[in-house]
Structures are given as structure tokens and as C-alpha cells.
Symmetry: C2
Subunit: 331 residues, 2 copies
Amino acid sequence: MTLTDDLLAGNRRALARTITLVENDGPDAHAALAALYPRTGQAHILGVTGAPGTGKSTLVNALAKAYRRRGFTVGIVAVDPTSPFTGGALLGDRVRMRDLSGDPGIFIRSMATRGSLGGLAQATADVILALDAAGFQRVIVETVGVGQAEVDIASTTHTTVVVEAPGLGDEVQAIKAGVLEIADILVVNKADREGADKTMTALHMMLGMGMRYANHHGRTMAVDGVAAVEPAGWTTPIIKTVALRDTGVDELLEAVEAHRTYLLESGEMQQREEDRAHTSLIHILQASVLRRLNSRVSGDHLHQLVAEVANRELDPYSAADQLLPAVLSAQ
Amino acid sequence: MTLTDDLLAGNRRALARTITLVENDGPDAHAALAALYPRTGQAHILGVTGAPGTGKSTLVNALAKAYRRRGFTVGIVAVDPTSPFTGGALLGDRVRMRDLSGDPGIFIRSMATRGSLGGLAQATADVILALDAAGFQRVIVETVGVGQAEVDIASTTHTTVVVEAPGLGDEVQAIKAGVLEIADILVVNKADREGADKTMTALHMMLGMGMRYANHHGRTMAVDGVAAVEPAGWTTPIIKTVALRDTGVDELLEAVEAHRTYLLESGEMQQREEDRAHTSLIHILQASVLRRLNSRVSGDHLHQLVAEVANRELDPYSAADQLLPAVLSAQ
């Protein structure tokens, strides 16, 4: 049996080894992913994102347990782009392991950045692929922070949950239009804290300002004061939770499942799958260009050009033009 | 006189038009940037980053005014990767304009995302280049959020200031190791608020845990309980500010200038310039590959491959292999 056969047969160690292979981005990784790919497409991929301090990890744990109670298997991918050395990711992992360990229906993987050049989104997509092929029915991708990485990773998921919390500073700053644009579901976590109503009001106001947002899938959301109604029929709900006390978590699960049903029945799931495929293609092509640069241009030559640019003897666009033939050549 | 001549002569409208050209990434943009490039290298580039709610914008405004009092000209680039439709950026701009407008020694530009494929960091680098060539002596790049974009943008600056504030939730979450790794200077803003001492303590503890971080320039910072001491001689200071009341802002300015002096005297400035040049080269090459994909592969062909991947008839790695010859071909 090959590694991929073992993975498809449900062997957890084969899954872990495959993910390690994928993270290291070795030459065998592509073959393994290609072999697994036809067995994917069953899992529902859920992104959970929000600013630091919103209690995302606790909410993801509570949601995973709620899914387990209903018999679903759950994969969790915790992405921490701010921690190249996995310090943060490991800390989160330890808390998680204590909470969820010992359940064979849950698989948890933390990921730190793979270079600063867009590699993380593709690595995340690859790990999702492995979990999907291994038969996990729901895959939750948790991202820390509010920034480009979240928007990138939203393009690898089916349903994006944006988590807010009271008391994170000026509401206008904490609740960014750009993050609302990627939200299929909004959550106000820590809703028992002072200021929860203020946060709800701020969200309602943002949605009620009469602005029309185009979200990352290019759809336009109209606004009716409380929730954004997309013309095609999805109403972005705002859900209050207290993840630590398991309050509102079942409502969140129901909202995710309702969104999945909506995607499938409206035919929009096909569009999201094509968006995911398109993003993957671009990322894979860009990575292969970097690989060609590293294998075909000597370190000395590259460093010489870099030094000339740093010393203003050459501009970076002309330097790139000098490198392009080597990167593009067939040999 | 050409547009670049006008810019170099100090014409603000020429600068604004050049930046618009650069943001639209037209074919003339590369020629303009190449023409300006030899005139760059004089500005000190300062990155200011931190989580939402830390009061970064207010701090950047106060710092800009402090620089003006000392006779420096200041360019401000406000980068908001979460707002593809500039809603957030425009809001910040309006507050700014009221505060800083009418001073010809200040130039402010807001930038939203340019696609989700790493274009923002390069666009930011290009705008910095234009401001540098136009003679602005200090360029402050403000980034919203804590994520990959900040780490990318840190690679385009000389001095990175990371802003924290009290009351942003669990300290362990709010103060991420990955963000500390890119910090040359740490600021606790809103230091008159409850919890400021707790935030200071948390920062000291993070730095004092005895962990050795390698920052994004590959240096290792040792730790002495209060500040991280890099072997080469830079001690990362922690500065308390209340930007709204202008408290601590002069100390921050002094710290930035001390860091600049350190970079120049230690020879590390050359290393940072080479890092910036290297990152630019990679980004320009990746962008040119995307441009070739768009010009050489028909939309129909690309969509057909994307649909096959979405339907699991083809895996994304094989699809990328099919596209590569067209992207790489000389014609």
C-alpha cells in the first residue's frame, strides 16, 4: 500500500505524514496531491476569521464539538501567518489538544507561514485537500488576524465566518468593511461582555449605511438594516455567541449548514469550486516560477543583481527583465 | 518636461499622477519607475503596524507633525489590505486630511488592495519609490491588521514600529510572537488607559521568556528582560505613548532616528536595502508571469481547465503543468 492508499483507508499516521510532505513542498508532494484529488469534493470547508482577542480558537473548538455531537467528523487547520516559527501555533495547539484530544473523529493541524510570497494560501489549500480526501466531513480553517492572508484564505473555503467581539477598540476600526465583504456569517462572540450591544449596533450600522458591498465572489449584497441580503437569496446572519459557555454555538452550526444547503441548491457551490480551482492554479504557477528562479539563476548572479538594485545602479524592473529569460527558458 | 521631470522638480500634481499610474500598473508605470529609481535612496522608510484599535492612525499623524516641527518633509502611505473598495481607506483619509491638510511638506496617499495575489506589497514599494524620488525625507507606511500583509510590507521598510494598546483582549493573543519578530521599536499606545501596565508586563514577559527570536532579517535577538538586544547592537525599545495628547511621540521620533543612525553606522542599512531589492525582484517576476498568463492563454481555455479542476476531472497540479508552456514560451 502506498502512503496515499493508507490515507484513503483512514490511516491517521498516513494523513499526518502526507500533510508534512505537503508542508515541505517536496517533489513527491505534487504526485501525492494529484493522486488524492479525485477523492476530494465531499467535505464542507469553513473559514473562521477575525481580529486577535475575539476568541476565535475557543469558538472553533466549541463548533467542532457541536459537529461531533451530531456525528460529523471534523478537521481543523489553524493558520497563523504571523508566526513563522510556530511559537503561537504551538501554544494554540496545546490548549486544543487538551480540549479535543483522544477523539478519532477530530484531526487538528497548525500551520505557520511558508515564506512570505503567497505560499501560505496554497499550503492551506493543499492541507484542506488531504483532510477532504481522508474523509473529514467538515474542515474548519481558522486564521488569526485581519489582513490580506484572510482574504486569500477565504478564496479556499465554502463558507466564511467573521468573528467580532466587544471591546476591541473603536468600532469603526475593529469592524472593517473589507472583512464584512468576505463574511457569509457574522458572529459577535463574548456576547456576555459589556459593549456587546454596541458591537451589534455597529455591525447593523455598517450593514445599514446603504452601501452596497461586492463580496470576494463578486456578488453584490443589498442591505436591509439588520442583515445583508444577496440578490441570489442568502441573508448574512449576525449571531451572538459565548463560546466559553457554549451559548449560541448550535445556532452557528445551523447557520453554516443552512449556508451549505443554499450554496448547493442555488448552484453557487459550483462557482465557489471554480474560484477555488482558479486561485490554486495561479498559486501553483507562481510557485513554479520561484522554483525555476532558484534552480536556474545562480545565487551569485542573483546577489549581484540585488546589490546593483540596492545601490541604485540598476532599477528593479530592468533587473527582472534580465532574469526573465533564464526563468522562462525551456531548459 | 515629462511627468517624471515634473515630479523630480517637486510638482505635487505630477507626484499624484505618477502614483495613480503606478497603482493602475500600466505599461508606462515601469518606465516611469525605472526613470525615478536612480533618484531614490534618500528617504528613511518607516513601517507602523499593529492590530485594529491600537490607534495607529492617530499615532502616525502625531509622528508626522513631530517630524514637521523638526523641518522634515513626510510622506504617508496608508495601506488597508482588508478594503478592496477603499471604503476604509477613504474614511481614514478624510480624518487625516482635516488634521494635516494645507501643509505642502506632507503628502498622504491611501492604498487598498491590488488583487489578492501579492500585488499590494509591490504596489506599496512602488509608491514609496515615487515619494522617495519626490524628495520626501521620511516616508511612513501604515498598515492595518496583523497578518501576512504586514510581514510582506515590513520587507519594504527600514524601521518597523509595532503598536500595541491596552484592553485588546487576551494578551497572549493580542501580542503575537510573529509581530514582535518584525519589530525594531515597540509602542504601547493609549498608555493612559486601564491595563497599560498589564500590556507592558505582557510585552516584557514575551521578550523575557528566554526565547530567541530570529526576526525577518534573519538576525537573532537575545533577551534581557526588558528589551531584546540584537547581538549587532540594536536594543528594541518599548515606548509608552498617548498619541491623542501627543505624549511620548517625541520619544518615538528619537527612537526612529536612533535606529536609522544604527542602521547606517553598523552597515546594516545595506543589508536592508538588499532585502528590499530582492523582495521587489521576486514580486515583479511573479506579476509578469500573471500578465503572461492573461495575455497568452485564452479566457475560454483557462475557464475550461478551471471547470475540469472544480469537477475533479483534473487535479490543479496537472492543470498548471498544461498552462506552463504557454506562459513560458518566448512568443
